[in-house]
C-alpha cells in the first residue's frame, strides 16, 4: 500500500519545495519507487529545483482534466532511479484542482509507487487544502521564527480537522516536524527560536533539523536536490531525515554550534 506524504507549512519560503525534492530523492536513492507532485499550480517550482524544467510536456492539471495520461505527464528523474515528478501547470490556477481529480490521480499513482510526496503551496487555500486532503503523513516545514511556527500550528490544526482522515474518522494524519534554515549559534544567542522552543509550541515529533547553508541556494539554482550534495551539512541532514522517516534511530546533528578550533578561539579572543 502506497503512503501519501504532504510537505506543508502554511508560510511561504520556508523550504517546502527544497524538502520535497530532497525527501523524494532520498526515498528513491534508498530503493523506494517514489513520485513527487507539485501542487503549486500557477507557481511551478519543483521542476526547477529538480532540474527537469525543460522536459515538462504535460502536467498535473492535464492529467486531472483527462487531456493526458499519467505516463505521459510523469517525468523520470535523471539523478536517481525510481523517482518520477508530476509537475504543476504554470498557466492554470488552483481552482483546477478538483477533489475528484486529485483523488483519481493519487489512486492511479498508488498502483505503481510506494511513496507519493505532495509538495504543497503556501497558504491555506485550495492548493494547500488539496495537497493535504488525501495525506497519510505530513511533514510540516518550519523555520525557527515565530510567524513560521504559528503558521505551522495553523496547518496542523487543518490537518487534524479537514483532511480526509479527519473527516472520515480514520486514524489521524501522522505528523512530522522539519525545522529548516536552523542556525545553532543564532539560536544560542537568542536571535532565533531554539529547537526546544519550536517543539514546545508545536508538540509534534521532530523528524529533522536542516541547518542554514549556502549550499541549498546553490543546488536550487543548479537544479540538483541538496541531498545529492555530498559533504554539505544540509544534504547530510536531509539524508538523516529520510533514514529517520524509514525507521532508523539517528541522533540529531547540526543543532549545536560547531566547536571552535584552538586557533579560531585564539584569534577571536573567546
Amino acid at each position: 500500500m502506497a503512503t501519501v506524504i504532504v510537505v506543508t507549512s502554511g508560510k511561504g519560503g520556508v523550504g517546502k519545495t527544497t524538502t520535497s525534492a530532497s525527501f523524494a530523492t532520498g526515498l528513491a536513492q534508498r530503493g523506494y519507487r517514489t513520485a513527487v507532485i507539485d501542487f503549486d499550480v500557477g507557481l511551478r517550482n519543483l521542476d526547477l529545483i529538480m532540474g527537469c524544467e525543460r522536459r515538462v510536456v504535460y502536467d498535473f492539471i492535464n492529467v486531472i482534466n483527462g487531456e493526458a495520461n499519467l505516463n505521459q505527464a510523469l517525468i523520470r528523474d535523471k539523478h536517481v532511479e525510481n523517482l518520477y515528478i508530476l509537475p504543476a501547470s504554470q498557466t492554470r490556477d488552483k481552482e483546477a484542482l478538483t477533489k475528484e481529480g486529485v483523488e483519481r490521480v493519487l489512486d492511479d499513482l498508488r498502483q505503481s509507487f510506494e511513496y507519493i510526496v505532495c509538495d504543497s503551496p503556501a497558504g491555506i487555500e485550495r492548493g494547500a487544502l488539496m495537497a493535504l486532503y488525501f495525506a497519510d503523513e505530513a511533514m510540516v516545514v518550519t523555520n525557527p521564527e515565530v510567524s513560521s511556527v504559528r503558521d505551522s500550528d495553523r496547518i496542523l490544526g487543518i490537518l487534524a480537522s479537514r483532511s480526509r482522515r479527519a473527516e472520515q474518522g480514520d486514524p489521524p494524519v501522522k505528523e512530522h516536524l522539519v525545522l529548516s534554515r536552523y542556525a545553532p549559534e543564532r539560536a544560542d544567542r537568542g536571535d532565533m527560536l531554539s529547537v526546544e522552543d519550536v517543539l514546545e509550541i508545536l508538540g509534534i515529533p521532530l523528524l529533522g533539523v536542516i541547518p542554514e547553508s549556502p549550499t541549498v541556494l546553490q543546488s536550487s539554482n543548479a537544479g540538483v536536490p541538496v541531498i545529492l550534495e555530498e559533504g554539505s551539512d544540509a544534504g547530510a541532514a536531509y539524508g538523516d531525515l529520510v533514514d529517520r522517516f524509514l525507521g532508523k534511530n539517528l541522533p540529531h546533528r547540526f543543532i549545536t554550534p560547531p566547536k571552535k578550533g584552538f586557533l579560531k578561539r585564539l584569534f577571536s579572543g573567546g
Partner: protein
C-alpha cells in the same frame, strides 16, 4: 491577623466592625389584620410549644394579605408589633406588600426587607444544576485558527491552546496544558464561570465579557498554573489552588 495589625490596636481601634452573617428567620405570612383573630391563633400555637417563640426573630410577609377594608391608613403595625412581642416573637421587619403598606410599616419602625424571590430563584438555577451534560473534553491540542465553543457547559482541553486559537464556553474552561491563545468563559454572562490553566501565556482571557489582554496580565502570573475568576466584576488572576 487583622487584630494584630497596627490599625486595630490601642486607641486607634474603631468602635465597631461590620461583618455579614446569615440567620435563619421565621416568616409569618399574614392573611388578615384582625388583631383578635391573630391573638387567638397565637395563643393556640404557644400552648402547643410554650417556649417555642422565645425571642424568635420573624419577618412579617404581607404578600398574601387581603387589602384592608378601611384603607391602608387603618393598619396598625405598632399594635401588631406589640402583640407579636407579647407572645415572644421579635419582628425584625416586613417584606412584600404594596408601597403604601411598606411606608406605613417603616413609620412603625419596621424595616422593609428586600424582595429576594427573583434572586433566590436565579441562584437556585445555577449551582444546583448537575454537572452539565453538554460539557466537552477535547483530547488534542487546539491549534492556531481553531475555535471551539461549548454551549451550556464546560470545556476541558487535554493539551495546549495555541496562539491564535480560541476556546469558548458558556461555563468554565479547564486547560491541562499551556494557554497561549484566547479563553472566554461564561460568554452568556455567567459571572460565576472560572478559567483554569496549567500555564498562563494567554493572548486574552475573558469571563462574562470582562476581559484582559496579555499586556494587562501581571507578568508574575505568566507561565504559571493559574485560575481566573470574577470578584465584584473584576477579573482576578491567581495561582491555581492546590
Amino acid at each position: 491577623m487583622l487584630l494584630s495589625s497596627p490599625r486595630f490596636t490601642g486607641e486607634n481601634r474603631p468602635p465597631f466592625e461590620l461583618k455579614g452573617s446569615l440567620f435563619t428567620l421565621t416568616v409569618l405570612h399574614l392573611f388578615q389584620l384582625d388583631r383578635a383573630a391573630i391573638e387567638r391563633h397565637l395563643t393556640d400555637k404557644v400552648k402547643q410549644a410554650p417556649s417555642f417563640f422565645n425571642d424568635t426573630p420573624v419577618v412579617i410577609d404581607l404578600d398574601a394579605l387581603a387589602e384592608p377594608r378601611d384603607g391602608v391608613d387603618s393598619v396598625d403595625f405598632q399594635g401588631l408589633y406589640q402583640t407579636l412581642r407579647q407572645y415572644g416573637m421579635a419582628p425584625v421587619g416586613i417584606r412584600h406588600g404594596s408601597p403604601e403598606l411598606q411606608a406605613r410599616a417603616r413609620l412603625a419602625g419596621l424595616p422593609v426587607l428586600p424582595d429576594n424571590r427573583s434572586a433566590s430563584a436565579a441562584k437556585k438555577s445555577e449551582p444546583t444544576e448537575p454537572p452539565s451534560p453538554h460539557s466537552r473534553v477535547i483530547h488534542h491540542p487546539v491549534r492556531s485558527g481553531q475555535q471551539i465553543y461549548v454551549a451550556d457547559g464546560d470545556l476541558i482541553v487535554l493539551g495546549a491552546v495555541s496562539a491564535g486559537a480560541e476556546v469558548i464556553a458558556d461555563g468554565n474552561i479547564h486547560i491541562y496544558g499551556v494557554l497561549r491563545g484566547r479563553a472566554l468563559a461564561g460568554v452568556k454572562g455567567d459571572v460565576e464561570a472560572w478559567i483554569f490553566c496549567q500555564s498562563l501565556e494567554a493572548e486574552l482571557i475573558s469571563i462574562a465579557g470582562r476581559y484582559r489582554i496579555s499586556e494587562q496580565i501581571d507578568s508574575a502570573g505568566q507561565g504559571k498554573a493559574m485560575q481566573i475568576h470574577l470578584v465584584d466584576d473584576r477579573l482576578v488572576i491567581e495561582a491555581l489552588a492546590h
